[in-house]
């Protein structure tokens, strides 16, 4: 008996203006607003950190174990046991978060300044010190494309 082959229809090309509107709407109301992190108080099972407060996400191993740290504009750091790649995957639909190096995911809405020289440093809202070499060459085109709107 011959089997019936079912094929999916290719999606129709979207109007660029609709795509743009959708992007803007998502920027106003991101699909994910909080991210589960390890609790600052052991009485909690976990804490849900507001992503709008996060400046950047990076890897750390300064407490005897490899962790992913989420640094907020108040200077507080929260941690998750997910690797940076897994975090990037979860935030792929978030319009504000951009991978800028192997070690950094940046909240572009919090970027207040940058300097592109040999190193590409970023300044964030609320943080005194810049994050040094936060953007590497591989990720620079996407970063600059984001900045240019």
């Amino acid at each position: 008996m011959a089997s019936k082959r079912v094929t999916k229809k290719a999606p129709a090309a979207e109007s660029p203006i609709l795509v743009k509107i959708l992007e803007r709407l998502q920027s106003i109301d991101p699909p994910i607003k909080r991210f589960p992190v390890l609790p600052p108080d052991p009485a909690m099972a976990f804490f849900l950190l507001a992503l709008c407060e996060v400046c950047y996400i990076t890897t750390r191993s300064d407490a005897g174990r490899a962790e992913t740290a989420l640094v907020t504009s108040s200077g507080a750091t929260f941690y998750t046991n997910l690797g940076l790649d897994a975090v990037a995957k979860r935030l792929k639909d978030h319009p504000h978060f951009l991978r800028t190096s192997r070690f950094y995911i940046v909240n572009m809405a919090k970027v207040q300044g940058y300097r592109i020289s040999n190193a590409r440093d970023l300044w964030f809202d609320g943080l005194d010190k810049p994050v040094v070499n936060a953007v590497t060459a591989t990720y620079l085109p996407a970063f600059e494309a984001w900045l240019s709107g």
Partner: protein, 513 residues
């Protein structure tokens, strides 16, 4: 396609501005102001962010759940919460008699009963497992926590983007080990980075995390029994002991300069001052927790706490043959053991019955410093009875657990060194029991466990018919006695000869090796 998505996104944004009118008509508010809805009889309470009292509206919670889907998540039959406002998840500890399942845990009650039993603790674990998906949500803008029942847990997990509600997954393997054993490593990250020489930093750290100085209410947030509003004292005790160990290792807590009981007074003293949650009678709980964590779980050692070893004067490491160890059971054999070990240049230890784990820890460290990785040979002078055999096993296993290699074990007192007449005069009854067919009945004061151990010892360890007698009794029964012989009954010269020859053999073997 994008058109539908855009329409959905616009609707979603617009929904935030939908108005509600209070039942009494005196208040109008928007969806964006609501932290949670609570269902009730004939009406619904809307808890607005930052407001202490709710506003009553007429819309039933079922209708709200449908209309506000996407913004609000149903967490309980009576509760609907603004998903984006949920900022923390807590384990749930339902109070008995809570009609709606609501938990008033913020800050805890003023004076909770603090008592428990073994049955309570078992029930605690059963309830905890059964209700692992039940939790409470802390909502931004509201001081009240919102309960999540098991029925709605799946949709809550989906809304929050997590796969479990009782713990954040993935979990670090070290955290998981501690959690499953009920331990909390308070402020571990700060402790890791803490400079133990920075007095101010140490004081601030201790002020923030010293369990002994927690208030009752704070203790309840960490060490509460599941299902009841009581403190889990065993868990509290484990955590205090664990924290002391961590802090002593870090150098921010002075080790004990006394014995094990001295540390209890330190714990009890601090607790009495701040929370008064333990009674003087809880010292047994403290001993048991310490034993469990050290001897069963092997999390650390008694020595780590700096406890002094009361048996220190009764042991020494040999200068010439430290790897040869003479272990005697009784304190009365101390002089004999010291002299004999001195003759051979060997190590010795006077066990005073079953060896204390703390003595083994100290002795092992001293031995290891002298012998390095070389195996040790242990010569035992213990009673010829099940207790003597148990002491031998305990010391041998103890040395191995502490990382020493035990090459050989030699019994200096064994049946062969007793002539028949000596054995007849020296033996004493270990247990007596009655046998009829296959039925065995212990005769007082013996218990069945002692009979079983004695029979096993006779059959496998000594296999000497002189230590077993049967006597016929009425009704086809037999009265059986298993005998033992005190080590003091052994000929000391024979023991001395066996030990010195054995020590010399160890020398020859070592040379060959």
């Amino acid at each position: 396609m994008s058109g539908d998505i855009i329409a959905g996104a616009v609707d979603r944004l617009a929904l935030w501005d939908r108005h509600f009118v209070a039942k009494d008509g005196r208040r109008v508010f928007r969806v964006r102001e609501v932290a949670a809805f609570q269902g009730g009889k004939g009406s619904t309470l809307a808890w607005l962010a930052g407001e202490p009292a709710p506003v009553e509206i007429a819309t039933p919670i079922e209708v709200l759940a449908r209309q506000l889907s996407g913004h609000f998540t149903r967490t309980h039959r009576y509760h609907l919460v603004a998903t984006d406002r949920v900022r923390a998840v807590f384990n749930r500890y339902p109070d008995s008699g809570s009609a709606s399942g609501r938990e008033e845990t913020a800050g805890g009650p003023a004076s909770p009963p603090i008592e428990e039993s073994e049955a309570d603790l078992k029930a605690d674990e059963v309830l905890r497992r059964a209700a692992i998906d039940e939790c409470e949500l802390e909502v931004e803008g509201s001081a009240r926590r919102v309960p999540v029942s098991a029925l709605y847990a799946k949709s809550v997990k989906k809304a929050l983007g997590v796969t479990a509600l009782h713990v954040l997954l993935p979990e670090h393997v070290d955290d998981r080990k501690l959690r499953l054993y009920g331990l909390i490593d308070f402020g571990w990250r700060e402790l890791y980075r803490l400079d133990a020489t920075d007095g101010a930093a140490v004081a601030a750290f201790r002020a923030a995390w010293d369990i002994r100085k927690f208030s009752r209410a704070r203790m309840l947030t960490y060490f509460r029994q599941f299902g009841v509003n009581r403190l889990n004292k065993r868990r509290l005790m484990k955590n205090i002991v664990y924290q002391l160990w961590r802090w002593i290792r870090k150098g921010i807590e002075e080790p004990s300069d006394g014995n094990i009981r001295s540390m209890w007074y330190r714990i009890k003293g601090a607790l009495s001052h701040h929370s008064d949650v333990l009674d003087p009678g809880d010292v047994d709980l403290y001993y048991d927790v310490l034993r469990e964590m050290i001897e069963d779980r092997r999390l650390f050692r008694y020595k780590d706490f700096g406890f002094m070893d009361m048996s220190e004067p009764y042991r020494a490491v040999g200068a010439k043959r430290p790897e040869v160890v003479l272990a005697v059971e009784k304190l009365g054999q101390f002089h004999f053991a010291r002299t004999l070990a001195g003759m051979a240049g060997a190590s010795f230890i006077c066990l005073k019955g079953e060896p204390a784990v703390i003595s083994i820890e100290y002795f092992t460290d001293e031995l290891r410093a002298a012998v390095g990785e070389r195996p040790v040979t242990v010569f035992f002078m213990t009673d010829l009875d099940p207790a003597g055999a148990s002491i031998q096993r305990s010391l041998t296993e103890g040395l191995k657990k502490q990382g020493l290699t035990v090459g050989r074990v030699v019994r200096l007192v064994e049946p062969s060194i007793f002539a028949d007449d000596v054995a007849m005069f020296s033996k004493y009854p270990v247990v007596r029991f009655e046998v009829k067919g296959t039925q065995i009945k212990p005769l007082k004061p013996a218990r069945m466990s002692q009979v079983t151990k004695a029979r096993d010892w006779l059959a496998n360890d000594v296999q000497d018919p002189r230590l077993y007698t049967e006597q016929a009794a009425e009704g086809g029964r037999k009265i059986v006695t298993i005998w033992g012989i005190e080590s003091d009954a052994a000929d000391r010269d024979e023991v001395r000869r066996r030990f010195l020859e054995g020590a010399a053999r160890v020398d020859r073997r070592n040379r060959r090796a």
